[in-house]
Each structure stands twice: as structure tokens, then as C-alpha cells.
């Protein structure tokens, strides 16, 4: 049966066909849809974990107990999960385990461009890299077999284009793999030094066997077109290179990339006059070829950029110096269109007020709310990684205090980020008596990655089954916070008063803004608690509007100035009646549409 699948859909399909029993993940672009698709397969237990470390640890336990398991995450998520990963490689598996890292050359939706192929090398684990959706499915199935055969977890390395591109995939049926029996074995699972030292030595044996496998697996292959020029590549770069070179070069197409098949690489390069090493980000294949003695004929990072994607246009330009002909025209009227907080976004009211404050450093985090850094809010100073807002804000506040500076710190993160790693950061603030204002923007869902459930949303990963709803205010109280206020962020007066209150305190405070994301599919609980949300539209009374543009400072994409009458107008297709602009208008010219 043929299906048109994204790489992520194909990975889920492959895992299902391979009989996987357990899947855990934390959402992150471009990996999110892997677990989302797993939830559609009823035979598999699938869950969202609070963070990537927890997801991998859960998958490790499932493997030890004898189930085939997987954990998927974006590249920076593997940093969070790195601690269990490195030791898990020593222990090995019972049921096969595949760890998926979705890297982001080009940083379409990420704070950095780290190359996680380095993790496979550092952790000493086998790695596979599919080039197409078909390979994503096939390699996923193969990866489970490798994991069990060599008693080691496998790293599946994807990139954004491989994750989010669709291709035709020949699908099969699920192969039911029985859950293996669990045997207590402290020499395998207990990692006190005396045991772990033995595991370390054993790991070298496994790697030697994996090297033999690398030389013979069909995942690595030579395409000999009888030419004097060769291309060495893996993953999506193979497709980009094929687009440019077609059959005019020989290819070494690598799908199993740690350990690398050195004999095959030697055989491929011998006799060639020139070898293009086409790999995004770090020169890993290039360094391997240099070590094998082919420095004189390889064109790697001296020809191709060390950053961004190596799409066919980039390769073409680097190799031939030319790009395809295109239309030449004037770009002066093209206005940038950066992403913006949605019309009705409950973060808007909070940042509208926060942005007005002077002598405040806003310590930010990872989420839709990071968009508050830009105009018109200009309400964020920094963001580093998940959960860093509270802890970095705390560090800054201590230095401002030491320096006698009037600067205060307001730290902001979302509900899902709070559960991910914000709770430990809040413990830091409370325990060390930080003068920071820690704000949790609770929109009752994981927003930025497209509405995944989290421990606060009241539903399991399938979006249907009820779950215990962890109460953020109670958690903060249990962590020792004394000054806590929960507010409606669409009420500007209340937001202002609450910020005044928090900034008047000389000790830690917590503000929780609670209002569901405008795009969220409301649960029964949302409907009961927010019965009026997003049910109206605003409209401008043109007789009252003086064209002062104050409302436009809300940064709402549904508001604009009419070209002809120079007065504000509301786009009825976008407006959901949050009412923030009504409160900003000094002439009371914006009100609810009456039917």
C-alpha cells in the first residue's frame, strides 16, 4: 500500500510496523509529529513526557522491561536527554530502543544549529540517517533490529527537510514482536563504577562489530556511474546533490553513519580525481576522509558553507559559481512579514503592559511569547533555552542588587516550559531568595509546537483521555512561593496593578496569567471556566475614531489603518473579540459588534 508521508509520519509508521510498544517524547519542531502520529496507532503506548530527559528515561525503562521503545526530540532536546543517553549506551537494551534527534540546519524554528551527529560519536552509539520518507520508514525498522542484535540503543538522525518533506512510501503491516522476558541482571543495568568499567570495555567490542556491520549493510552503498568525480553524502544532502549532479558523478550514499564504513570510503575514493563532501553543518564525513588520506582530492568546507542547509541552489552555486536564471525585479516595496502573536493571543495584554516598564530586564524563554521581544512590545531582553528564564533572571537580579542598580527582573515562561524545566528554576529563585518576578503564562496547552497536551492541560497525549491536571499555583506554593497572584491577562488594568504589586516586593513573587490559547480546541474544563472566550468581534466606531493609532500599539494583526479615511479598522476574519484594543482606545471608539 502506497501512502504520501512526511519523514515524521514515516518514522512513526516504521516504528509501528516494527512492533514498537512504547513511545515517549517532548514536542519540539521539527520532531513533534513523530509522537503525534504514534498516538494514532492503538497497539502502541504513546505519551508526552514533561521534558526530553524524562522521555528518554521512560523509554530506557520500557526497554529494560523488554518492550521495543523509542524517544523522539528536537536537536536541543537531546542536550536535555544527554545525561541518561551516555550511560544507557553502556547498559544496552533488552527490547530494542531508538532515540530520534531532529536537527535544524538553517534554524527554521530553533535557537541554535548544533549538529547532533556529534552525539553519536561522543556517546559511542550507532547512527542512521535516512534521505527520504521511504528510507525513514525502512531505516526505523532496521534500527530496532540493530538495537537488539548489538545490544545498544540507536540514534536516528533526521533534519528539518527530512522530517517535514513528503514522499511516497510503500507501507506494510505491523509485525507483532513479543515483549521480551525481564531478567534481573545487576552487571548489565547497575552502573556503579565496578560494573560500568566492565561495560565500557564491552562497548568497544560492540563498536568493533558495528564497524563490520557498517561495511556490509545496504544502508551504505556506492553508486558507480563510471565517472572521475564523486560525491560523499548522507541524509537529505543526497537528494539535494542528486538534483544538481544527476548521473554525472559517482555517489557514496551513507545511511549508517556511526561507525563509518572506512573500507568502503577508501574503495570509493581510490581512483577519483575529485570528491565533493556534501554535509550540512560540521565536517564529520570530511574529517573521516582526511584521516583516510584523501585530503588532496576532497572538496568539503573549503567549498560549501559550514552553516545553513545545503539545498540544490547552494550546491550549484558553490560548485559551478552559477544559479538558475530568475526574474529580475524591484524588491523595494516588499515589506518584511515576521510571525506575530495571533489576533486574540492571551499573551498580548500582558506584554503590552510589561513593555511600558522602565528599568526592567525581561528574562525570556522558549515559546510563542518569545515574539514579545519585537515591536511593538520590545518586552524581552534575552532567551537561552527551555526553563532558563527564571534561573538566568535570578542570576541577573543578584548582580543588579550587588551593583546597586535600580534594574529589576521579570522572568517569563509558558505552562509547558514550566513543567519542562521551569519548576527547578523556580526552586532556585525561591530557595535563594531572589527579588525576581517569575511569570507563568499559562495558556493551558503547548502552543508553539501546535497544541500538544502537557501535565497542566488535563488530557493525555491522544487529546481525549482525561488526565490529572497539575495545578500550577499549588506547585508554586509547594515550592515555597508566598506571593502568588493568578490573573486574566486580557484585563489590562489588572495586569498593570499586579505588576506594580510584584515590583513593590523585596522578595520572590509569582504571577500566573491564565487564559486558553486562541487556537486551542477547548476542553469541557476550558468551556466551563472561560465560557465567553473568543465568541465576539470588535468593531471601530468611525465617528469616534480620531486616527491616533494608539490601538495599533497592541500589535494585533487584526487591526489596521484604513488607507482612505486614515482611521482604525478591524479585520472581521481575524478578530475574536479579546477586547485588548477596546481598553487601549482613548476615545472609546472600539466596541463589540452587535448582530
Amino acid at each position: 500500500m502506497k501512502k504520501l508521508l512526511t519523514g515524521n509520519e514515516a518514522l512513526a509508521r516504521g516504528a509501528w510496523e516494527a512492533g514498537v510498544h512504547f513511545a515517549s517524547a517532548y514536542p519540539g519542531t521539527p520532531s513533534t509529529e513523530i509522537l503525534e502520529n504514534m498516538t494514532t496507532y492503538k497497539e502502541v503506548y504513546s505519551e508526552w513526557a514533561p521534558n526530553e530527559k524524562v522521555a528518554l528515561e521512560a523509554a530506557i525503562g520500557a526497554s529494560f522491561a523488554g518492550g521495543r521503545s523509542m524517544a523522539s526530540m528536537k536537536h536541543v532536546g537531546l542536550n536535555v536527554a544527554a545525561d541518561p543517553l551516555f550511560t544507557f549506551v553502556y547498559q544496552g537494551v533488552n527490547g530494542g530502543c531508538v532515540v530520534i534527534t531532529a536537527d535544524e540546519p538553517g534554524q527554521h524554528s530553533s535557537q541554535n544549529e548544533q549538529d547532533n551527529r556529534n552525539y553519536a560519536i561522543a556517546a559511542k552509539m550507532p547512527m542512521v540517517e535516512p534521505s527520504t520518507s521511504q528510507e525513514a520508514k525502512d531505516f526505523m525498522m532496521e534500527a530496532f533490529d540493530i538495537s537488539e542484535k548489538f545490544d545498544i540503543p540507536v540514534l536516528m538522525r533526521m533534519t528539518t527537510r527530512a522530517c517535514h518533506s513528503k514522499g511516497i512510501v510503500e507501507c506494510g503491516d505491523r509485525k507483532e514482536v513479543p515483549i521480551k522476558e525481564y531478567h534481573k541482571d545487576v552487571t548489565k543495568y547497575i552502573t556503579v563504577p565496578a560494573m560500568a568499567k566492565k561495560m565500557r570495555i564491552k562497548l568497544e567490542d560492540k563498536l568493533a562489530k558495528l564497524l563490520e556491520y557498517s561495511e556490509t549493510t545496504p544502508m551504505n552503498r556506492i553508486e558507480d556511474n563510471g565517472k572521475k568525480v564523486g560525491v560523499v553524502c548522507s541524509g537529505m544532502c543526497y537528494c539535494f546533490a542528486k538534483e544538481v549532479f544527476g548521473d554525472t558523478v559517482n555517489y557514496l550514499k551513507l545511511g549508517f553513519t556511526n561507525p563509518l564504513p572506512e573500507k568502503m570510503m577508501k574503495k570509493f575514493c581510490t581512483g577519483l580525481e575529485k570528491v565533493y563532501v556534501i554535509e550540512e553543518n560540521d565536517p564529520i564525513l570530511e574529517h573521516a576522509l582526511q584521516r583516510l588520506g584523501f585530503n588532496d582530492i576532497i572538496c568539503g568546507k573549503n567549498t560549501f558553507p559550514k552553516y545553513d542547509e545545503l539545498t540544490s541552489d547552494v550546491i550549484r552555486k558553490c560548485v559551478t559559481g552559477k544559479v538558475l536564471d530568475s526574474i529580475d525585479y524591484d524588491h523595494k516595496d516588499i515589506v518584511n512579514r515576521p510571525p506575530a502573536l495571533c489576533a486574540g493571543c492571551p499573551h498580548r495584554g500582558f506584554f503590552y503592559e510589561l513593555g511600558k516598564r522602565k528599568n526592567v530586564m525581561v528574562s525570556g524563554d522558549i515559546g510563542c511569547y518569545t515574539l514579545a521581544f519585537s515591536a511593538p512590545y520590545n518586552a524581552m531582553d534575552s532567551n537561552t533555552c527551555m526553563g532558563a528564564s527564571f534561573s538566568s533572571g535570578h542570576g541577573a537580579a543578584k548582580i543588579f542588587e550587588k551593583a546597586g542598580s535600580p534594574m529589576r527582573v521579570v522572568s517569563v515562561l509558558g505552562d509547558s516550559t514550566f513543567f519542562h524545566s521551569g519548576m527547578t528554576s523556580l526552586a532556585e529563585c525561591i530557595y535563594n531568595n531572589s527579588k525576581t518576578v517569575s511569570v507563568i503564562l499559562d495558556n493551558r496547552i503547548t502552543g508553539m509546537t501546535g497544541h500538544q497536551q502537557n501535565p497542566g492541560s488535563g488530557k493525555l497525549a491522544d487529546g481525549k483521555t482525561d488526565a490529572i491536571m497539575l495545578d500550577i499555583e499549588q506547585i508554586c506554593r509547594a515550592l515555597g512561593a508566598k506571593n502568588i497572584r493568578t490573573i486574566d491577562p486580557n484585563n489590562l488594568k489588572l495586569v498593570k496593578e499586579t505588576l506594580d504589586w510584584a515590583l513593590s516586593l523585596d522578595e520572590p513573587s509569582v504571577i500566573i496569567t491564565k487564559y486558553p490559547c486562541v487556537l486551542k480546541k477547548f476542553t469541557e474544563d476550558d468551556k466551563a471556566k472561560f465560557p465567553e472566550a473568543y465568541k465576539t468581534k470588535d468593531v471601530v466606531d468611525k465617528a469616534k475614531c480620531i486616527g491616533c493609532k494608539m490601538c495599533l500599539k497592541s500589535g494585533c494583526p487584526a487591526l489596521f489603518l484604513n488607507r482612505e479615511d486614515k482611521k482604525a479598522e478591524v479585520d472581521p476574519l481575524q478578530c475574536v473579540g479579546c477586547g485588548v484594543c477596546e481598553q487601549i482606545c482613548p476615545k472609546d471608539a472600539i466596541g463589540k459588534e452587535t448582530k
Binding site: G167, L324, D328, S374, G450, F560
Partner: protein, 191 residues
């Protein structure tokens, strides 16, 4: 057959993803090799977005190079101008006569030029301007503008022989099937 490239561009939230999904499914049914690439995520909402569709006997890269699109379908005027460099010098453009103000325009830092369509027509011979948003509103559901534009695309690429009715019925939520069937027909009549 040589690989054909279709670029669907617009503003995040306008429905380019569903339109391109239906397109690729139709192309697969017809027996083509198909690849599609898109950069998505909630954080793209309100931003400039694109879905790239390529089909033929054998497709390698899912990504369209500058100067290689046979057709650009733009859900918004400014986006057509932005992505025009991806068009083949003799390629076609279908543009929805609809403006969405980018944030710098809303904030008064930039102006939305009134003659965008004229600027496109000046450098490109084959331009079709459609009022897809208006037509969708007339059908009673402004959100079906994406399917109106899909209809126009089908006509512009001569893909009318594919059974689009079946594709829509099998892939759109039951409540929206009727609206979308009407929308695709209207779209096809606009070229």
C-alpha cells in the same frame, strides 16, 4: 516527464498546507512521483509561509530553487511579489487579490504599496488575478479561500482530469466537504 514545481505561498494561517496536501494526494493518485516540503509550526502564524510541491517521473529534492517554479499560487498580494524570484522566467503566477497587512505596516513603519499587481505584471507575462477571498465569503465560508485557489491551480496546471472530488471527500473533515467541493469548482471557473 520533466519534474514540475508549484509553489504555494501566503501568510501563516491562510490554509496553504491543506491546499498543498490535497494537491499532492491528487498527483500521487495520478501516478506521479511527488515530493512536498514546507516549513511549519504555530510560530509561523502571521509570517510569510510556503509549501513547495514537485512532481514528475522521479523527483529528487523536495525544495524548489530560485528560478525553477513553473507556477506560483499566492494567497496574498505582497507574498506573490516576495516569492517571484522563485519563478522560472517564463512561469505562471496566480495571485489572490487580497491584502494582509504585515506588522511593520500596522505599526506605521512601512507602507503597503497600492500597485503590487502592476509590479508583478510588469516583469511577468502570465499573471492571473483572482478574488478568492471574496468568492469564498460569497460561498459563506471565508476560510475556504485556500480551496478556491486550489481550484484555480488545478486549472492553471491542466490537472482537471484528476478526480478531485474523491480526494476532497477522503481528506477533509465531513462538515467541510460540501463547502470545499463548491470552493474548488468556483476556483476552477476563475481562470
Amino acid at each position: 516527464m520533466e519534474t514540475k514545481s508549484v509553489l504555494l505561498v501566503g501568510v501563516g494561517g491562510q490554509g496553504t498546507i491543506l491546499a498543498s496536501k490535497l494537491l499532492t494526494l491528487g498527483l500521487m493518485e495520478e501516478g506521479y512521483d511527488v515530493k512536498m516540503s514546507e516549513i511549519h509550526g504555530m510560530s509561523q502564524r502571521g509570517g510569510s509561509v510556503s509549501s513547495q510541491v514537485r512532481f514528475g517521473d522521479k523527483v529528487w529534492s523536495p525544495v524548489i530553487e530560485k528560478g525553477s517554479a513553473d507556477l506560483i499560487v499566492s494567497f496574498e498580494k505582497m507574498e506573490a511579489l516576495r516569492w517571484l524570484e522563485y519563478l522560472k522566467p517564463d512561469g505562471k503566477v496566480v495571485v489572490n487579490n487580497h491584502e494582509m497587512m504585515p506588522m511593520p505596516v500596522i505599526m506605521g513603519d512601512a507602507e503597503y504599496a497600492a500597485d503590487i499587481i502592476d509590479q508583478i505584471k510588469k516583469v511577468c507575462k502570465d499573471v492571473t488575478v483572482v478574488n478568492a477571498t471574496e468568492e469564498a465569503m460569497k460561498l459563506g465560508n471565508g476560510k475556504t479561500q485556500n480551496i478556491v485557489l486550489l481550484g484555480t491551480l488545478i486549472k492553471a496546471m491542466n490537472l482537471g482530469d484528476i478526480n478531485w472530488e474523491n480526494i476532497i471527500k477522503a481528506n477533509v473533515k465531513p462538515n467541510f466537504v460540501d463547502d470545499n467541493l463548491k470552493a474548488v469548482k468556483v476556483g476552477m471557473s476563475l481562470v
